[in-house]
């Protein structure tokens, strides 16, 4: 009987761990157990012509990150719960289109399913700024660069949807989003780790890099669930 109960319990746990359809999208945080869902994290969407090269400075109240890459890219700040209009922890993205053509670079600040701020440019090497508040951070200088600079880059197929647990030694966040996604840790407390599960498995792996101060320190590939830990 004990064995039966054990199997049943394990099965129920596995079933519950399997992501469902009620979590929405967009850096949503899912409550654990009976706790309610929490507000979505600050999420920037760098969109426009696929493959367009860009560079950006992302900042919140006390940390900045320099980011380079190609469109599309979702950028989520971990340990920051900025929502549209709040001054609690202002977030800002200043992006420079690194191309001399007339392609569109569109940057969007989203909260769940809603686009809260949007800026775009088709000018050669155009510059776009968006922030979650109309007045702040305003003229204030960007905070110092993150140190340590800990990032997770999820390199799944474009628009591949995933759910994951992202945590340091003290705080954990359960999030939904889509690849490719760059997670920036604001003041991680100790080593970070993540457990990421594909939701729409299009028969291919998730591919995750963990970067520390610009260098890849851990790499994991697989599916449907990939676990990666900072050494």
């Amino acid at each position: 009987m004990r064995r039966v109960l054990g199997w049943s319990l394990m099965g129920i746990i596995l079933t519950l761990m399997t992501p469902g359809c009620n979590n929405g999208f967009g850096a949503f945080q899912i409550g654990v157990g009976n706790t309610p869902n929490r507000p979505p994290l600050a999420a920037f969407r760098v969109l426009g012509q696929f493959g367009l090269q860009f560079s950006a400075v992302v900042s919140d109240a006390d940390v900045s990150w320099n980011v380079s890459g190609a469109v599309p890219m979702n950028i989520i700040v971990i340990n920051n719960e900025s929502v549209a209009g709040c001054t609690c922890s202002p977030v800002r993205l200043i992006a420079t289109k690194q191309s001399g053509g007339s392609e569109i670079l569109s940057v969007q600040f989203t909260s769940g399913f809603a686009v809260r701020e949007i800026g775009s440019t088709s000018d050669p090497y155009g510059v776009v700024t968006i922030q979650n508040n109309t007045k702040t951070p305003g003229f204030s200088p960007p905070p110092p660069l993150a140190n340590p600079d800990v990032r997770l880059f999820i390199r799944g197929a474009i628009t591949e949807r995933f759910s994951g647990l992202f945590e340091d030694s003290q705080t954990a966040f359960i999030l939904d989003d889509r690849a490719p996604a760059l997670f920036l840790f604001d003041h991680p407390d100790g080593p970070v780790d993540a457990s990421v599960t594909q939701i729409q498995n299009h028969l291919g792996p998730l591919d995750i890099d963990l970067l520390l101060n610009g260098a890849v320190v851990e790499h994991a590939v697989g599916g449907p669930t990939v676990i990666i830990r900072q050494p």
Binding site: W7, I12, V71, Q98, V127, R155, R178, Q200, H202
Partner: protein
């Protein structure tokens, strides 16, 4: 003793079985497709929607509308709550989801008034559609950037003003529907593409009274004749051969602006191999490359198809052979540091099928020698580490992982901002599926090192920012005497209180003589560059599209002669906080190839182009436009008219030529104010005031 296990023991198998099924069976929450190209799904028919803008009366720099989607319904006079709506989501370039929502396509109505811009193509059920809804983002409907002095007397110009919608329709979630009853119902027939062009006219109901207020606008949609804005390209795809592996990427025909990788439309090939593209066409003609892709077929293409509104180009047939796909992969590095280049771009070139091809033996490749006769058929980018391609899946493959093996004459074009572009042959051996690239630095991968040099200089401010404030400055480089930008700093310089000078080091591509011949459709690296510095100034704390500091320029700075070499250039003139300004004017008999550039004289009195209008803004044909507004900080400038050799739109390799003599204009410095400060910047380093006051517009003579 009864050793039979109890019957209810079978329940113990159910939970792990359910969990196992959950993990193994692909499942999800809506959305499909979502490839690296905006491909429509395999549905009975497609509808292709394009938009045309009608800007409000007035003097504006930009009128942005944020469109979140378009819905169509077969019901006559359908309301928002009626059943039967089919949504055409925003294109993948504007959305983040599989169905590309959430996301907004931000359309500048001023840039879409002379021709249509493709919205998206989606699969729909056949039938007759009678009602259409344009879904505007209710949270963020759009914004207007007026010229200076174009609004009420106490409002600033050249800054963003939000718009609010004047509508009685009930919102649908976060979206504001603008309903259009189609006077000419849209017939959608099985195995065909139905085009529809919607004109969005914005009229202003209420003006902002103060900075921070919004424009109240009314949006009036109307259906216009698709034949006045679109052209049709159609044909059939015939496949021979078969692959040894299973392909799930849909067979599609893709249209992109000629010589570029800018995809305008992707259509699934239907039953009997037929396809129909409905493409935006400028009055003077728009030129496209089209190619077939997916299911492991060889990449065949037609290059340089010029279409005009109402034209039907038939018989663009492809006969392709299906084979097994191979993958191109490797690492893109900085040739000086060896570090990866995040975001570096790779384009796979394939010969257009009209070109007579020699019998090449790899690594020889027709597209290396004749890139101008080849078409971009797949793209890829380097990741944060410099590696490529980004992973794909069986259902959503990466283009560089679907290269037919054994295909001759392919080439990879590799580029990154500030680096010399490179072109290499690309070949995947049929049996071993190993890669062979002529310019690779690896014997097993297609890895490349991009050469670069650096230019070191200094940016100066006349006045350092007040305590607690900052000024950000970005530095740009362009081929001398042109508006072909080739590099910018990866991150802007940040000046804080007490700082009036900062050095920078800018990566720049080596000139053509130091590199291989320039791949087509890219600015040819020049032996000298013009540089200019632009501040990223907020306005009263919020993001602002135009700077409040003047723009210093340096002309004709020699590029270092060899890889990894650095050259020091003179310091820029100190940047002064001057506020905003604008220039408005008209052109005589312009066409799609007409542009206006603002030039500033450098200390040696050589003009440097700092900004201008985009191609396709002007037309003398209906719908016409000969007006422009440019936002520039107060200073002395020259306005110069340029013309492309041919007015045909989307000919990126053509270099525009100056027409007539430049016109001198002086944009005046606005009077200083003490409130509200800081407006766009501060004139002193001791406090936020005084600061530039309301800007003034300068009317230029017709060009």
């Amino acid at each position: 003793m009864n050793d039979r296990r109890p019957w209810w023991l079978v329940f113990s198998l159910l939970p792990p079985l359910i969990a196992l099924c959950g993990l193994l069976i692909p499942y999800g929450c809506g959305g499909g497709g979502g490839g690296s190209l905006p491909a429509a799904g395999a549905t009975p028919a497609e509808v292709s929607i394009a938009l045309v803008g009608v800007a409000p009366v007035g003097n504006f720099r930009s009128v942005f509308l944020n469109v979140s989607g378009i819905r169509i319904n077969k019901t006559v006079h359908a309301s928002s709550n009626s059943p039967g709506w089919t949504t055409v989501a925003v294109p993948s370039s504007a959305g983040t989801g599989n169905a590309q929502n959430p996301g907004d396509l931000q359309i500048d109505l001023l840039r879409t008034q002379t021709g249509a811009v493709a919205f998206n193509t989606a699969g729909v059920e056949p039938g007759t559609y009678n009602t259409l809804q344009v879904l505007i983002d209710q949270t963020n409907p759009g914004k207007i950037v007026p010229a200076c002095q174009s609004g009420p007397s106490n409002t600033e110009g050249c800054i963003d003003y939000p718009i609010t919608l004047n509508t009685t329709n009930n919102p649908t979630g976060n979206l504001q529907p603008i309903i259009l009853d189609l006077a000419n119902p849209l017939p959608v027939v099985k195995d065909s593409t139905a085009p529809i062009v919607i004109q969005l006219a914005v009229s202003i109901i209420g003006f902002p009274v103060n900075v921070g207020d919004s424009y109240s606008v009314a949006i009036t949609p109307s259906e216009v004749n698709a034949g006045s804005f679109l052209a049709q390209v159609s044909g059939a795809v015939t496949i021979t051969g078969s692959a040894m592996v299973f392909h799930t990427a849909p067979l599609s025909v893709v249209a992109e602006l000629t010589g570029t990788n800018t995809v305008i439309q992707s259509i699934p090939v239907r039953a009997k191999g037929a396809y129909t593209l409905e493409l935006p066409a400028a009055q003077d003609g728009t030129t496209y490359d089209i190619f077939v892709t997916g299911t492991g077929v060889e990449n065949k293409s037609f290059q340089g198809i010029t279409v005009r509104p109402g034209q039907a180009v038939l018989g663009q047939d492809f006969k392709v052979v299906q084979s097994n796909p191979g993958s191109l992969r490797g690492f893109i590095a900085d040739a000086c540091t060896g570090l990866g280049i995040p975001g570096a771009q790779l384009e796979l070139l394939a010969p257009n099928q009209a070109s007579p091809l020699p019998t090449s033996t790899p690594p020889a490749s027709f597209c290396v020698d004749h890139p101008d006769q080849c078409v971009v058929v797949a793209t890829g980018t380097a990741d944060q580490n410099g590696s490529y391609p980004m992973p794909g899946t069986v259902l959503n493959p990466n283009g560089l992982s679907e290269v037919p093996v054994g295909t001759l004459n392919l080439a990879l074009r590799v580029s990154a901002s500030g680096y010399t572009p490179l072109i290499s042959s690309a070949f995947i051996r049929p049996l071993a599926k190993t890669q062979q690239c002529s310019a690779s630095t690896s014997s097993t991968l297609c890895s490349f090192s991009l050469t670069t040099a650096t230019m070191s200089g200094t940016v100066q401010l006349t006045t350092d920012p007040p305590p607690g404030s900052s000024t950000m400055v970005q530095v740009f480089a362009e081929n001398t005497g042109t508006n072909e930008l080739v590099s910018a700093l990866p991150q802007p310089l940040v000046f804080v209180h007490g700082q009036t000078s900062q050095t920078f080091k800018l990566n720049v591509p080596l000139s053509q003589s130091e590199s291989s011949p320039s791949p087509m459709a890219m600015p040819t690296p020049a032996p000298a560059l013009d540089l200019f510095a632009v501040a990223i100034d907020p306005f009263t704390g919020g993001p602002s599209p135009f700077p409040g500091h003047d723009i210093p320029v340096l002309a004709n700075q020699l590029v270092p002669a060899s890889n990894c070499q650095n050259t020091s250039i003179p310091a820029f003139s100190p940047m002064n906080c001057v506020g905003h300004g604008s220039v408005s004017g008209t052109l005589l008999n312009p066409d799609f190839g007409t542009t206006v550039e603002v030039e500033k004289l450098d200390p040696s009195m050589t003009p440097v182009q700092i900004l201008g209008t985009s191609l396709g803004l002007f037309s003398s044909s209906v719908p016409s436009n000969n007006e422009y507004t440019l936002c520039v900080p107060p200073d002395n400038y020259q306005l110069q008219r340029f013309e492309l050799p041919s007015p045909t739109a989307a000919a990126p390799t053509a270099t525009p030529g100056a027409v007539g003599t430049p016109q001198s204009v002086m944009v005046p410095v606005p009077a200083a104010t003490s409130s509200p400060c800081p407006s766009t910047c501060s004139n002193t380093n001791s406090g936020i005031g005084p600061c530039p006051g309301l800007c003034q517009n300068t009317a230029a003579s017709p060009l």
